[in-house]
Amino acid sequence: MREESGKGKILDGFAQDPPSVAFPPATHPSSHITMASTLNMNGEDPVERPQQIRDIIGGLERYNPQAAEVLEAYLQQQCEEKFTDCNANRALLKLYQLNPDRIKDEIVTNVLVKTMTQFPSPQFDLALHLLSPSYSNPGPGSSSDLAEAVAKLRTLNSHLEGARYDHFWATLESDDIYADLTTDIKGFEEIIRVKIAQLISLAFREINISVLESYLGLRSEAEVKTFVTETCGWKVGDDGIVHIPKNSENEAKKTEIREDVSIDMFSRVIKRSWEENA
């Protein structure tokens, strides 16, 4: 073996004592989801992120293999408290990418399921890019449990990204493996359902209750009625038409893009005229 002259000892930050794994409870536990949460929060940098995690992903500690334990525990917290920190989870996948011996299958799939709840967004893809090709595109004869699970999740995610929500629920039901993969994420189905409802409200003014039933993955019109009136605050008409309140997105109003005029644009003219008069 040859000697590695500079390797590994240039910087101290890479090898440190393992940080403690204990977490203070998040300051804003979002234990229930409301319709109020907007699409703008795509789980990139949630307010729930504790200082310890901020320090890890913001500095060189993110390369310390031992930090994986902390990030894993943090993922666990996310699963239980129903918030998502895609940025921190990517730091974890990155550690796995650099230290394949540390990979824990169920952590990887939990990260993917968590990012999936952020649809429509590039979050799932960004996580996938960090996996080794052998899990996301296994070569012939080299498949593994993880590779199989990743393939399943990709299918599921493609239905969400493609807004084929009815297919999503059907796929979820089609195989027991999905129940296993999503079991750690508390309220997974409910999170997805609320998100779909939000997206519907941004595109529809009225929608037929039977369409809603398939989109929301509910089993009867009665269930749909309860869900849309209680969770979403929508009104169901006698004719089976659900009325969705107006918002800036479902109106499709004619707009005219007008020029923003600010005083700064005229500063030179004003300055000159003032100087010439002075």
């Binding site: 890019h129 090709p133 080299s142 893009i257 005229f266």
Partner: protein, 476 residues
């Protein structure tokens, strides 16, 4: 050697919007080209002066030299060792070493070459493992998993950034303070400052090569992308930075931002084209073509009015492909794939391949491509949908489905996707990752049951420009 340095170093404070600056950059670039030719001569002079100092200077120059394309594995190993010992010397000596960088662009060349060799080595190693027909080299590579290891490369770049306190310096400059006050003993030396600075650009590149696109952009938090930035003074650095930033944006589905990056640099290149008459020229040409291909992809995702220069170049180079992309549908998929392959960076895997199971090693390009194509497929009907919707103010879903020959449920999904993708984060100010959600399409619609209500945003007249022009004409 110091005279060499002084000729280049002063950083001018200039007006942001002046052409003077652009001309200065061009002049600067010409200087670089000329100095480049004098490199060897200068090295010889030094040799006559002081043997010991020359040794080091020679090593500095050596580090910036490209490794021969057909270098043997041995040469690649020893090149790695040379880098390690050079960086070890620079970073771990007692206090900062007393060396002047041989030229203004030397630091860029070193970091560039360092990463380039890392990149090609990783690609080579993966290929040997995949092909599985070169026992001898496979064995050697297997025994030395840490040579050109990902951790070592990241380690060097991060260490150079930390030692030079370049981030603190850049932050101070941004606040309008004197960077020298926070530079520390290392960062106040040109050698460290330059190496640190270009290591940031180097990190952008390495993260992108490893498929971590958001971290790549995050790396540039302290660097403002404008003509005053230090990298803009080294043509290759300028070019590389915009390519990787643009590519990362594209992979994050921020097509408007990606287009802004590619357009900026291609317009810049076209303006300075007459001065690129050396070896770099080929390289820049090749990268320009790649960026045109990426522009074609981005424009297909998000129709945008391009600058005339770029539009013409795009039509010349990829006219046929662009038409297919803009038409969308399944026929566009192979074109997306082809363009992505020609234009993407040479992705690498951060860990050594599995030499014992050749077929299990997938080229990382396939991996990233397959993820990207998923999004392409999700969006492939958007162009068709848009072209139909433009024709109506209201439309029945079933009727439109009939026109398009799809099921009403499928059409509903397509409408959904198209509407969702019309919202995009676009950079406005601040760090590269920041931005606001904006509507990127002039077409909007909403569904009332099966009835589609369509509205198109109209551009109002732009009057301020007209008014100002006429004002100045009247008062001239």
């Amino acid at each position: 050697m110091s005279a060499f340095q002084q000729g280049m170093a002063p950083i001018r404070a200039m007006e942001d919007d002046s052409d003077v600056e652009e001309e200065a950059l061009v002049a600067d670039y010409q200087e670089q080209v000329q100095y480049g030719q004098d490199d060897d001569l200068d090295g010889l002079d030094q040799a006559a002066l002081a043997q010991a100092a020359d040794d080091l200077q020679a090593r500095l120059l050596q580090a910036a030299q490209p490794l021969d394309y057909q270098a043997t594995l041995e040469a690649k190993f020893s090149s790695y060792d040379n880098y390690c010992s050079l960086f070890h010397y620079i970073l771990n000596s007692e206090g900062p070493v007393d060396l002047e960088p041989p030229s203004y662009y030397w630091a860029w060349d070193v970091i560039d070459e360092f990463i380039y060799q890392f990149n090609t080595f990783s690609t080579y190693r993966a290929r040997i493992a995949r092909q599985g027909n070169n026992e001898e080299e496979a064995q050697l590579l297997k025994e030395n998993p840490n040579t050109w290891g990902c951790y070592s490369v990241l380690n060097v770049l991060y260490s150079l950034i930390q030692k030079s306190q370049i981030q603190e310096q850049l932050q101070a400059t941004k606040r309008g303070e004197d960077a020298a006050l926070v530079a520390g003993p290392y960062g106040s030396k040109a050698l460290y400052k330059m190496l640190g600075y270009f290591s940031i650009i180097g990190l952008l590149r390495v993260h992108c090569l490893l498929g971590d696109f958001s971290l790549a952009l995050k790396t540039l938090d302290d660097i403002e992308l404008n003509k005053k930035a230090m990298f803009a003074r080294v043509m290759a650095a300028h070019f590389t930075t915009y390519y990787y930033v643009g590519f990362s944006y594209m992979m994050m589905r921020r097509y408007a931002d990606a287009l802004r990056m590619f357009s900026h640099i291609l317009i810049y290149v076209s303006r300075t084209k007459n001065f690129q008459k050396n070896a770099q020229y080929d390289n820049i040409n090749k990268k320009s073509d790649q960026m045109l291909a990426l522009i074609a992809i981005c424009v297909a995702f998000q129709p945008t009015r391009l600058d005339d220069t770029i539009h013409t170049a795009l039509r010349e180079k990829y006219g046929e492909q662009l038409l297919k992309l803009q038409r969308g549908g399944p026929e566009s998929l192979p074109v997306f794939e082809e363009l992505f392959r020609t234009a993407c960076p040479k992705f690498i895997s951060p860990v050594p391949p599995n030499f014992d199971a050749p077929e299990s090693n997938i080229d990382p390009i396939e991996h990233h491509l397959s993820i990207f194509m998923e999004e392409v497929k999700t969006n492939m009907f958007n162009p068709t949908i848009k072209s139909y919707l433009r024709l109506y103010t209201t439309m029945d879903l079933k009727k439109l489905a009939g026109f398009l020959d799809v099921k009403p449920e499928e059409l509903r999904s397509i409408l959904f996707v198209n509407k969702q993708r019309n919202k995009q984060i676009r950079w406005n100010e601040g760090a590269l990752l920041e931005g606001e959600w904006v509507n990127t399409s002039d077409l909007d619609y909403a569904l009332q049951g099966d009835l589609i209500h369509i509205s198109e945003a109209k551009m109002g007249r732009k009057l301020v420009d007209w008014y100002l022009r006429n004002l100045s004409r009247t008062y001239a």
